[in-house]
C-alpha cells in the first residue's frame, strides 16, 4: 500500500474510532464503528487478505453492528446526559492512552520484516480454507460448537421469564 494512501486511511480510521468512544449518542457510536470496521477492511485488502476483508464487511460491519443497533433500538436508549466518567477519570485515561501509545509505538514502530512478495494465491479463499481444514481442523470444529452454545445461551438468557 502506498504510504500516503496509508496515512490518509489511518487518519480517517483513528477519527472514526475516537468518534465511537466519545459520541454521546450510542446510535452514532455504532455508525462510527461501521466506518472504522469498513476502513480496516480496506487495510486488509491492501495486505492481500482478500477473504478476511470480505468477512470483515459481512460479519462485523454487516451482522455484529446491526445486532448492536437492534439492541439500542430495542432498549430505546436516550442520548446520555453524562456519557463519561468524571473529569479526573477522563484525564487519567487520556494520560494512560498517551503512555500506552508511546510505549507500543516505540516498541513496534521500528519493526522491520521481510516485506517480500507473498506466495501466489496468498490470502485467497483456497489458501485459507486449506489451512483451516488441515492444520486448524480441531479449533475449527470447536468454534462451531462454541457458536452453537452461544446461540442457545443467548436465547436462554434473553428469554422472558413467564
Amino acid at each position: 500500500m502506498n504510504p500516503v494512501f496509508f496515512l490518509l486511511l489511518a487518519a480517517l480510521t483513528v477519527a472514526a474510532a475516537v468518534t465511537v468512544i466519545l459520541h454521546p449518542n450510542p446510535v452514532h457510536s455504532a455508525c462510527a464503528l461501521v466506518v472504522t470496521l469498513f476502513l480496516l477492511s480496506v487495510f486488509f485488502v491492501g495486505l492481500d487478505a482478500l477473504l478476511v476483508a470480505v468477512l470483515q464487511v459481512l460479519v462485523y460491519a454487516g451482522a455484529i453492528v446491526v445486532l448492536f443497533l437492534f439492541i439500542i433500538m430495542l432498549l430505546n436508549l436516550p442520548i446520555e446526559a453524562r456519557p463519561m466518567g468524571g473529569p479526573a477519570l477522563v484525564a487519567a485515561a487520556a494520560l494512560g492512552w498517551a503512555v500506552l501509545v508511546g510505549l507500543l509505538a516505540a516498541g513496534v514502530g521500528r519493526a522491520t520484516a521481510p516485506a517480500s512478495a507473498p506466495p501466489p494465491g496468498f490470502g485467497q479463499t483456497e489458501a485459507l480454507a486449506k489451512q483451516l481444514f488441515t492444520v486448524y481442523l480441531l479449533p475449527f470444529e470447536l468454534t462451531s460448537i462454541l457458536l452453537l452454545v452461544a446461540i442457545v445461551g443467548a436465547i436462554a438468557v434473553a428469554q422472558k421469564r413467564s
Binding site: T36, L40, F43, F44, L67, W97, A113, L147, V149, K160
Partner: protein, 102 residues
C-alpha cells in the same frame, strides 16, 4: 515510493487498541463499552494480518478468522445479558450495576 513498512501498521493497531482501552475506561454505557471491546479486537486483527503478510504465512489470517467467529459469539451472548439486565434494572449505566461489587 516503496510499500508501507510493517511498523506503521503495527503502530496503527496499537493506537486503535489504546483508543478501545480508553473507551472501556471512560464510558458508562455498557453497550458503548462493548463497542470499544470490538474496537480492541479489530486493532489486534489488523496487527495479525499485517504480520501474516510480512511473513508470507497464512496462519495470521486463520487466527483472524477465529477471532471474528469468537467475537460474533461474544456479541450474541453479551447483548443477551445486557438485554436481561435491562429488563430487571431498567438501566445500561455501568455505575448503577453494582450488585456484584465487593
Amino acid at each position: 515510493m516503496g510499500p508501507t513498512p510493517l511498523g506503521w501498521y503495527l503502530t496503527l493497531g496499537a493506537v486503535l487498541f489504546a483508543i478501545g482501552v480508553v473507551g472501556v475506561v471512560i464510558r458508562r454505557n455498557v453497550i458503548v463499552i462493548f463497542m470499544a471491546i470490538e474496537l480492541m479486537l479489530n486493532a489486534v486483527n489488523l496487527s495479525f494480518v499485517a504480520i501474516a503478510r510480512s511473513l508470507g504465512s497464512m496462519d495470521g489470517q486463520v487466527i483472524v478468522f477465529f477471532v471474528m467467529t469468537v467475537a460474533a459469539a461474544e456479541v450474541a451472548v453479551g447483548l443477551a445479558i445486557i438485554l436481561a439486565v435491562f429488563r430487571n434494572r431498567e438501566t445500561t449505566n455501568a455505575d448503577e450495576l453494582t450488585l456484584l461489587r465487593w
